[in-house]
């Protein structure tokens, strides 16, 4: 059977979901468990194909709960593992995602967002799960969530998601959307990445570290370490400690610090025309492309508009947004939900924040944003 294709800088026409699967294989993913759901299913189908020819393991499970649990089990066995889903499946996975977080299990989940809530509009785009990625499971969690805006980024950010997940032992989400997932555009399956691997054989207890923001080593099942993995509160060795207040607080705090203290390493933003901007969009995913088109049009009309695009949803790009708030008069946040990130933006930016929302299963037209900005500046 043919193995992994040689990386290539040649750009080929590709669908976003396929690019995510290619990225996963390039990152070293060798296990996929999933359950079909539109608009993410192409990822699963492509993974079935790619894992078959790359000595990997693919399994179609009985539901999304089983899928995410199988992924966590596989990761415990030392194999990089992933699943892909959309809204209803993401909801079903929430309990296990909290388990993955608390057991510090690296894993990647691609959520190709569709128009919710409920079964919503399965084939139409939405960005309504961005808060669920942060707050969907119970308890205090600090997951990592990336957000691609192009087919190339479906590839690049899936690789990055694996790298961050392995580096920090934190479940990591690629919060794609139907438009980016189903978009077809040129994409290079390049090899310009260092690939991270978890610290499997390092010294130290598997669930503790002397450094407050420390990432402990993660031996696999079968490594002879007699691991105790549990989603209940545990001490650094893994013994359940469900009555000790100090151990619980120390664990919750250390897990928070793993992501919070490494914002600089995790958060990625991109700036367009911000040097002299008086108004700026703050956007993510497919809506950032709308915002870029609108900013360009506004510039042609003589309006000093710019864009801060974030590739990281969580941890939130607090510093970049605060700085933006000091630079511009107004921030406009276009998104395919009822203003979820506009609210977060308001908490961090001193400037006035305007929310442009659209929940009709369609991407926003740039013209709508142009008109909106003209009104704001009046």
């Amino acid at each position: 059977m043919p193995g992994l294709n040689e990386p290539s800088s040649r750009r080929v026409l590709m669908q976003g979901n396929i690019a995510a699967a290619e990225g996963a294989i390039r990152a070293g993913c060798r296990f996929f468990a999933g359950y079909p759901i539109t608009p993410s299913s192409e990822i699963m189908v492509q993974m079935a194909k790619l894992l078959g020819s790359n000595d990997g393991r693919f399994i179609q499970m009985e539901d999304e709960i089983a899928s995410i649990c199988a992924v966590i089990g596989a990761s415990g066995s030392g194999v990089k593992a992933m699943t892909a889903t959309s809204g209803p499946g993401f909801s079903l996975m929430q309990e296990a995602l909290g388990y993955g977080y608390f057991t510090e299990t690296p894993m990647v989940l691609v959520n190709v967002q569709r128009a919710g809530p409920g079964t919503g509009q399965a084939t139409h785009v939405g960005q309504g799960d961005v808060m669920q990625a942060r707050y969907g499971t119970h308890g205090d969690v600090f997951p990592i969530a990336l957000c691609p805006a192009s087919v190339q980024e479906m590839y690049d950010l899936t690789i990055r998601a694996f790298n961050l997940s392995e580096r920090f032992r934190v479940p990591t989400f690629v919060m794609a959307d139907e438009a980016v997932g189903h978009l077809r555009e040129p994409c290079a399956l390049h090899g310009g990445f260092e690939i991270e691997h978890r610290n499997r054989h390092g010294e130290g207890a598997p669930f503790g570290s002397d450094a407050p923001d420390g990432v402990p080593p993660m031996p696999a099942f079968g490594d002879g370490k007699k691991l105790m993995v549990t989603g209940s509160t545990h001490n650094p060795e893994g013994f359940r400690k469900v009555d000790d207040p100090e151990i619980h607080d120390a664990l919750v705090t250390r897990l928070m610090r793993k992501t919070e203290d490494h914002r600089g390493e995790i958060v990625e933003v991109e700036e367009f025309f911000l040097d002299d901007a008086e108004v700026a969009f703050f956007a993510y995913g497919i809506s950032a492309r709308t915002a870029l088109a609108a900013a360009r049009r506004l510039r042609k009309m003589g309006v000093r508009a710019g864009l801060l695009r974030t590739k990281t949803l969580w941890p939130f790009p607090e510093e970049a947004v605060a700085q933006l708030g000091r630079r511009v008069r107004a921030i406009v946040v276009p998104e395919l939900n009822k203003g979820m990130f506009a609210g977060v933006c308001r908490a961090h930016a001193a400037a006035e924040v305007h929310s442009v929302t659209q929940t009709n299963g369609k991407t926003i037209e740039p013209g709508r944003l142009v008109t909106f900005v003209q009104e704001v500046l009046k």
Binding site: A66, A74, S75, A81, E237
Partner: protein, 252 residues
Amino acid sequence: MTRAMEKYLRGGLGGTAFCPGCGHGILLGALLRAVDRIGIHQDDLLFVSGIGCAAWIPSPNIGADTLHTLHGRAVAFATGAKIASPKMTTIVVSGDGDISSIGGNHLIHAARRDTDLTVICANNQIYGMTGGQTACTTPVGARTATDPAGNPHRPFDLCQLVIGAGARYAARYPITRPPMLVDAIEKAIRTPGFTFVEAISPCPTQFGRRNDTPDVGDLYEKVEALCIDRENAESMTFDERLKHFVIGEFRP
């Protein structure tokens, strides 16, 4: 448990978390004897459990890799772990509520797929950990915290359930007969593919006290009295069988 099995226990254990008279500790002993007979190296063993008293049988007690998961999902976690690392002998040990109520769908699908797992269900016919609520294995008429006047519903026949789904091996024995239980667990682990052992493991605290058998000895005797070999149960009516523990090997 005999001293001979202590070598399989994890160092640093404080003691047992099980109530006096709980069957789960006897099941732990039977499981370790079976593992000892087969001679599997501890580093090649992975025990997966869900949530409940029974989920504490392997975790943290056994000195091997233990994965203590979510309520109901042990079989799904075990499926991923086993497929990713086939060299590991992967054994699920968990409760009746965990494996067959909230986790029932994972159980039948693992049996259907014939994933190489051994699932051991510690059936105490009740939700022990949460205070004695009705389980899908509670006998008709038994009193529980949520059915104080007696459970109106029939229990699952777990062995028949997994056989219907494709299990390679299925047996049921009470912890009052440890040698049979050890044999069954040994056979289940030695048999490739999906195998299942149901251990009747009485719960004096939550079940016995509510059902006229607060004394552990009385409860164990009652379990013994209700056990009937599968050959002898064949002439019974369906409803009569429901009142007993039909024991034996049901597959092959």
